[in-house]
């Protein structure tokens, strides 16, 4: 979020106070729409994207996980998540918000956040809090217990997502230090990517990986899901301007450009390396571009978007294929390969292409590109280190108490039947 919204939650304490920021129905209409678009990215965009890539016997379990995460995070957000991410944390404010907005205590129908109702702002942010843990599903697909997944989601958003969101957007240290993250390169993608990598390592490989063939059961669903993600992402990126203005217009445009560039790059890279361009490749490339442009969307111009797209197309192609094969971890749906690596590339290149000379919105007063790159770098590193450590601890503790992984027979039978007593397909 480009605008400083540190003080805005406090407006909730002063109902009826008229300030320079008044309700703008254009902004509000767009933000209501954006919110719906971003929720659509999770259900069913991401759900289908992922479900299509797993084996048929686990397809329903992926849909179930995403749906359940949506519902669970919504309640947590309502009770304390919004407050921890976006309210004033007093002496702890550099690290996390406070309790003033538990159960939205200080938010009324008339509360404003900038030019939009605070409820709309909070709801928009909720959709981000939902999709981030949903992304992690891609790393532990086909082998995690549903109960463990629910516990993990609840604890992870509490200990990782809310603090990191606060660091960058809620008035915490990274935002204050000038880290640029328009729509969630660190908060969403690097967070999910690193958590995914850790989860893949802690849970271990799927039975039979990598020698048993586990091809996607329905690339049709995956392509449909990827398409929904592309379109929905306009809400994610352009909506992060929190207004309907020139910046949101440019954000939408550069999102399109970077995505297209990345999709083509992955396609050509695959064509060159493996001899044929694939549908899974072009869809993955598009997602890689979407991820990388996320932190940059409100700060870079079209030229920068092309470079970011190409860089992410190449980087994520390498990450999801070569790196994964070499290192041997079973990041089943390339949560780290695409979101982790794409997020890192995007976050760093944001520091470069924000520069006015490169078509961006301009570096902050007195900040050099090197200086901005430094801030971007430690924002990335802090997110990675904190996320990795806390995720690891959460998983290890959960594993000790309830166990993370399904047993071998359940894994073989498939989670749909074993955990949910249902079939995704009765053909």
């Amino acid at each position: 979020m480009k605008r400083s919204i540190k003080w805005l939650p406090l407006l909730g304490l002063l109902p009826g106070l008229v300030l320079a920021d008044e309700l703008n129905s254009g902004d509000t209409a767009w933000m209501l729409t954006s919110t719906a678009l971003v929720l659509f990215m999770t259900i069913p965009g991401l759900s289908l994207f992922y479900a299509g890539m797993v084996r048929a016997k686990n397809a329903l379990s992926v849909m179930m996980q995403c749906f359940a995460i949506t519902a669970l995070v919504t309640i947590i957000w309502t009770v304390y998540g919004y407050s921890l991410a976006f309210s004033d944390g007093g002496s702890m404010n550099a690290f996390v918000g406070g309790v003033s907005n538990f159960l939205f205590a200080n938010v009324t129908v008339d509360s404003l956040s900038g030019t939009i109702p605070e409820t709309v702002f909070a709801m928009f942010q909720l959709t981000f809090a939902i999709i981030t843990p949903a992304l992690i599903v891609g790393a532990f697909a086909e082998r995690m217990k549903f109960s463990a997944m629910l516990w993990f989601t609840a604890i992870w958003v509490t200990l990782v997502y809310f603090p990191v969101a606060h660091w960058v957007w809620g008035g915490g240290w990274l935002g204050e230090d000038g880290a640029l993250d328009f729509a969630g390169g660190t908060v969403v993608h690097i967070n999910a990517g690193i958590a995914g990598l850790v989860a893949a390592l802690v849970l271990g490989k799927r039975k039979g990986f990598p020698t048993t063939a586990m091809p996607p059961h329905s690339l049709m669903l995956t392509l449909v899901g990827a398409s929904m993600l592309w379109v929905g992402w306009f809400g994610f990126n352009a909506g992060s301007e929190l207004a309907a203005d020139g910046v949101s217009g440019m954000a939408m445009f550069v999102t399109q450009i970077a995505t297209a560039a990345a999709a083509l790059t992955w396609t050509f890279a695959e064509w060159a390396r493996h001899g044929r361009p694939s549908a899974l490749g072009i869809a993955s490339g598009a997602v890689a571009g979407l991820v990388a442009i996320t932190p940059a969307a409100g700060f870079v111009g079209p030229g920068g978007a092309i470079v970011i797209g190409i860089a992410s197309g190449l980087g994520c192609f390498w990450g999801a294929t070569t790196l994964k094969k070499k290192m041997g971890y079973d990041d089943s749906l390339d949560c780290f390969g695409v979101h982790g690596i794409g997020g890192i590339i995007g976050a760093l290149l944001t520091g470069v292409f924000v520069s006015e000379s490169l078509g961006g919105s301009g570096l902050a007063e007195g900040v050099t590109m090197a200086g901005q790159l430094w801030v971007q770098s430690y924002a990335v590193i802090a997110t990675i280190v904190y996320g990795a450590i806390v995720t690891f601890v959460i998983l290890k503790v959960l594993d000790a108490i309830i166990g993370l992984r399904v047993d071998e027979d359940q894994e073989t039978e498939g989670l749909d039947v074993a955990l949910h007593g249902e079939r995704g397909y009765t053909l």
Partner: protein
């Protein structure tokens, strides 16, 4: 009576069905099967993970015939299902002990 089973390339099914019908064989059972003989499989690639797919989709058809018709059926099948390329398939001939038409109870050649 004979039970003639043939494993053929899937796209040849319509040609075979028509050709058999022309020589008087009107009943046929078809199943979708997988298999290979000398025809090589292919590789599929998903995000850099390569899989060798040995099994190829084929169609298996079965017809029950009067022994008199056997040579004609074999000739017709070969002509209709053949492409000249590896993977055309095989025909298996087994003796058929009895046939019963469920609706009427007819048996033997009358039931074919």
């Amino acid at each position: 009576m004979k039970l003639v089973s043939a494993v053929i390339k899937p796209f040849k099914l319509d040609d075979v069905r028509e050709a058999l019908s022309e020589i008087g064989v009107r009943g046929i059972t078809v199943t979708e099967v997988k298999g290979f003989g000398r025809q090589k499989g292919h590789t599929e690639l998903y995000r850099g993970a390569e899989y060798v797919v040995d099994f190829l989709p084929k169609i298996k058809l079965e017809v029950a015939i009067d022994t008199d018709l056997l040579d004609q059926v074999i000739e017709t099948l070969c002509k209709a299902a053949g492409t000249g390329k590896i993977g055309d398939g095989k025909i298996f001939v087994t003796p058929l002990e009895n046939v019963v038409r469920i609706r009427t109870g007819e048996t033997g050649v009358d039931a074919i």
